[in-house]
Amino acid sequence: MVKAEDIRPGAEIDGFHVLEKVHEGSMAVLYRVSRPDIAQPLLMKTPKLGFGAHPACYVGFEVEQMILEKLVGPHVAKFFAKGSVEDTPYLVMEYVEGQSLREAVGRAPLPAEEVARLGRALATALHALHRQDVVHLDVKPGNILLRPGGEAVLVDFGLARHGHLPDLVEEEFHAPVGTGAYISPEQVLGVRCDPRSDIYALGVILYELATGRLPFGSPTRLGGFRKRLYVEPQPPRALNPAVPEWLQEVILRCLEVRWQGRYATAAQVAHDLAHPEQVPVTERGRRLRRSGPAASAWRWLLALRHEPPPCPVPSAYLGSALHVLVALDPAHATEALGGAMRDAVRRVVTAEPHARVSCVSVLEPSILTEEEAGRELAHSLHTQRLMELRHWARPLALAQERLRFHVLESGNPAHALMEFADGHHVDLIVIGARGSSTLRRLLGSVSSRVAAEARCSVTVVRIDQ
């Protein structure tokens, strides 16, 4: 039986060869390790136990051990092994090559494009986590690594919550757990279960990247934490005039006090950061000062009565905030098919009030685009198609916020649609079957290829000929 104290460079633990110490924090120690049968670099994490150790150390470790084992995908460090809880507590995971997001925060304020790129990577990672029923609850630059390819990896699940597992995290000293600067208002009130808490932290990080400042500083006491329940943050554009309105709109929406006011999913944040021109800018995006003392007093009063709604299981909640892609082909679809597709979409958006709809159409790339006249023609075709999409969506009478339009260019429509669906976390594709058109005989059916190959659910709409 090996003891926790035996883990040190040069030691051999359950087949893992312990190499150098990488980091020693207040809660845990990290070592690089290797095992002959595993080619990639590995990291061993051990909690600090024994005399003088913080009592939360072991709980955090226990939580991380429970959760990390269940997670998959490129946005977490891959799990390899764990030690038995009785004698040697350790976790072995992938050693992620890459830089901490702290480096980018150090360079802030950053240009809007870079903020959007980093924010999109982080939002994508958070959505991948939420889909696996986990809320991180300690999202901060130090817990985010960026792989050389630009993908974000979330680390340290010591405060995380898995929707299928009991919450072991203890509230210490009657203060909420989390990091003062990034903690959401509901976490301040002790609620630890909603994916939108991570979206709030994402908003704080975007704010920090765009302005170089934190919206509420770094409080350490409960009173300081509570301030975010009623004080509005200074609008980012007031601190850095280079911040575009659309970016401020996105940031302040992530930072709404009531979670119902925030983005429904991190996927929606990623979608908006990828397509700034489609973000509907409201007063929130334009304001240059925070509201006056009367509004703050009102918000303070509301904060006293603020009672967060009951906890949903993350994946069940995400299911109600699904992203629907409607693949439209106005050039070939009949009025009847367009209407039937609208009915199919209406049934989804009526049942699920958080659902977002992207109307997508694929244009054949123009052969004339090399020349000036060709580019102009392509541009006008693009605009024309956008107008057709808007026309199709009008009878749905959806709030601007729930609707997006995209015209893609590709000679392979099925492939373009599926690529868009993958890149934008689409949960459901609604597509029309074209019946027996000449085009279908020539090209094969786009809908049948999408139905067979897409990675999400597909509804194929048919009408009687």
Binding site: Y58, E69, L165, P166, D167
Partner: protein, 246 residues
């Protein structure tokens, strides 16, 4: 080694059979019956026969308050329908069934595991574990890492966090790792008379090797079970509640 935890069977043969088949299909090799084998339902003899057979091959079976009442114990804490069912059950039990029920222990310990019908804090008092305070008392009185308890029909997992016990309502089918470093008290829910608005039978499986617990809900032929209750002339409410799960 997987052990199936089956509580509050209440003479519901259809539910018992469905849970046993479900548990075997998931690799359960051991069975623990957490009390209240009889009462309410119309198949006391068949249920006891099935459980006796398993007990002879090593299954754990615990005495519940309805079992005690069926043997002639007090019923002062029971409502009228429960009493009616007990009087009816007493007439059906033969010597074999009485001998089996009479020989059941109130509490069984097996290493770090404890099996009991109600709170391990004075099991004979039949205290319901319905909140953190009772759960904490029960866990501490038991003194082991894992307590498996019946009596309360709502599936719940209690666990010690600091100086309190918290309740967790599990998602059926999702395994929960239970660290031996803290105390846990699991109520698998009722096999034969679910009361949480879900009319499917409830039970759980504990994996002793991997130390993980999974709650399950099993659809069963509640129409037949309810039909037998009506045919036996037992109170209509006892049939109705099986159909609706209250």
């Amino acid at each position: 080694m997987k052990i199936a935890l089956l509580a509050d069977i209440h003479s519901n043969l259809e539910a018992l059979r469905a849970c046993l088949a479900h548990a075997r299909g998931r690799g359960a090799e051991q069975f623990a019956f957490l009390g209240d084998l009889v009462g309410y339902g119309a198949d006391p003899v068949a249920c006891i026969e099935l459980i006796t057979g398993l007990a002879e091959r090593g299954a754990i079976a615990i005495l519940g308050n309805h079992d005690e009442a069926a043997l002639g114990g007090l019923m002062e804490n029971m409502d009228f329908q429960a009493r009616d069912a007990i009087y009816w059950t007493r007439e059906r039990l033969g010597d074999r069934e009485r001998t089996f029920l009479g020989g059941l222990p109130r509490l069984v310990r097996d290493g770090e595991l404890l099996f009991v019908h109600a709170s391990a804090d004075h099991p004979e008092a039949w205290t319901y574990v319905t909140g953190g305070r009772q759960a904490l008392n029960a866990m501490r009185a038991g003194g082991v890492a894992y307590s498996f308890v019946g009596h309360v029909h709502q599936p719940t997992l209690y666990y010690e966090v600091g100086d309190e016990a918290r309740a967790f309502h599990a998602v059926p089918g999702a395994p929960i790792p239970l660290s031996p470093r803290r105390r846990w008290l699991a109520i698998p829910g009722s096999v034969g008379q679910p009361r949480d608005g879900n009319n499917t039978a409830a039970y759980a499986i504990f994996d002793r090797t991997g130390r993980s617990l999974t709650f399950y809900r099993v659809p069963y032929d509640y129409l037949s079970a309810a039909g037998k209750i009506r045919a036996a002339g037992l109170p209509e409410r006892l049939a109705k509640r099986l159909e609706e799960g209250w």
